[in-house]
Symmetry: C2
Subunit: 270 residues, 2 copies
């Protein structure tokens, strides 16, 4: 097989398997090529990935070694993406009662969601995260996008126990926006005890929901290594109960009367 | 730029933009190469994609022409994937009360979900689908996987109206499993009138939920071009109300007492 053919196949395989250790013999056998040729291919790929701003190949030496694709979105592309997203969200037609924003159309775009996931993966790739935890419903697509770049499973916390899930652990929490006591449920067998996890959600005001997830995860002895929210907004009444988080967007001055709204970069870019 | 570098960049771009018409001048400019070189690159790529069983490049002639990557998973890989999945699901520990199966772990794996999406995209790529419609919660990840391969947005029908969504259309329907009247809601501005859509869900017994979605979509003058469910199972009490669907898996003989279960290929493979 020619190098040009091989590079196409290898690029596809590497991109589909981020964070996974791939041994050189795997490619050698798959494409019937000498290890030295594969090694050269990977050098070319590493340089090109860096040029394209999509990450790099990490080399792991030794008998059990190989390469791992670390997805890293470069800064200028990240900023351009978020500035464009912020511009779209500043549309006054998006303002909903209660100071919320209509974002379902944007969260329905697979490519936008995937890029959001790529940004969080860039920030969290070094944390050895073993699972992404989110709460139904709107955080789910973002959670899968992050998970696909970090190559880890998604665990979904539910607000209602479903009969199709088996035995569960549940907690009560107070949601900042409604000040009502709500229930959160996680199926026992969905998360191993003592996992290192990352919490992902679409929106955070005071952070009551995320704080509830943290309490629930304590019951699983989980270590919350990172919290990522697409958009944060100030809560008019309550102080924020979650402080260590990464946000891509910051929503402020939502003025329902004058249909005004400001959307700027989140603390991801600080 | 050398051909080898260019092929890596082009492969990445093409894979990230399935179903999208990409003009040759786009690549010419991006990689500063003659159109004839780009044309040769695409011929190599097309052959390699076919060899790897992941689809092909469709050529569109004329001034507004270019290429489109049509994701098509080949048959032997599709069968191997589904047989492996069926084997995992036949584990008696998965049986839950009511004859349901615990599938959350499998549906939590981004790679498994992505391959499920790839299979549905293979079946539905020629239908000019404009949006994927699913119902919260378990169908969501599969819907995004299909959508990412077909390059169309996802629209999520909810079982409870949320304050963050704006004005909605709702219908009542009878769910086969509980025989209770339930409500389904779709935000008005989330789907254009007259769209061609594909319904995706994780599980179907009698099909009451999917039938409800069809009724709701009628209110949007939508044309349901395809219905895809990961797993279908017989309903013990009700006859199936949805007949034109594509399933990847068929679950039968769920014997809660003897913890026995049969999982075989769905009608996707007929």
């Amino acid at each position: 097989m020619k190098r040009s053919d091989r590079l196409i196949g290898m690029t596809q395989y590497v991109l589909e398997n981020p964070m996974k250790l791939i041994s050189l013999p795997y490619f050698s056998e798959r494409y019937d090529a000498a290890k030295s040729s594969i090694s050269e291919d990977l050098t070319i790929m590493n340089k090109m990935f860096k040029d394209e701003g999509i990450g790099y190949l990490e080399s792991i030496a030794g008998a059990a070694g190989g390469i791992r694709y670390i997805p890293q979105y470069n800064e200028s592309q990240s900023i351009a993406f978020i500035e464009h997203l912020a511009g779209r969200l500043e549309d006054p037609n998006r303002i909903l009662p209660g100071g919320y924003l209509f974002m379902s159309d944007i969260l329905g775009e697979p490519k936008t969601v995937s890029t959001i996931g790529r940004l969080f993966a860039t920030a969290f790739a070094h944390l050895n995260i073993e699972a992404i935890v989110t709460v139904a419903t709107k955080g789910i697509p973002i959670a899968y996008a992050v998970a696909s770049f970090l190559n880890v499973p998604v665990v979904i916390v539910r607000r209602d126990p479903k009969i199709t899930e088996g035995s569960t652990v549940s907690i009560n929490y107070v949601s900042g926006s409604s000040r009502k006591i709500q229930t959160m449920v996680l199926t026992k067998r969905s998360l191993k005890q003592g996992s290192t996890v990352c919490i992902i959600d679409d929106f955070m005001k005071a952070g009551g929901t995320i704080d509830g997830m943290k309490s629930l995860l304590k019951e699983f002895d989980a270590h919350v290594a990172a919290i990522g929210v697409l958009a944060e907004a100030e809560d008019e009444e309550d102080e924020r109960v979650v402080t260590d988080y990464t946000s891509l967007l910051q929503i402020s001055n939502v003025d329902v009367k004058n249909t005004q709204i400001d959307v700027s970069r989140g603390n991801f870019f600080n």
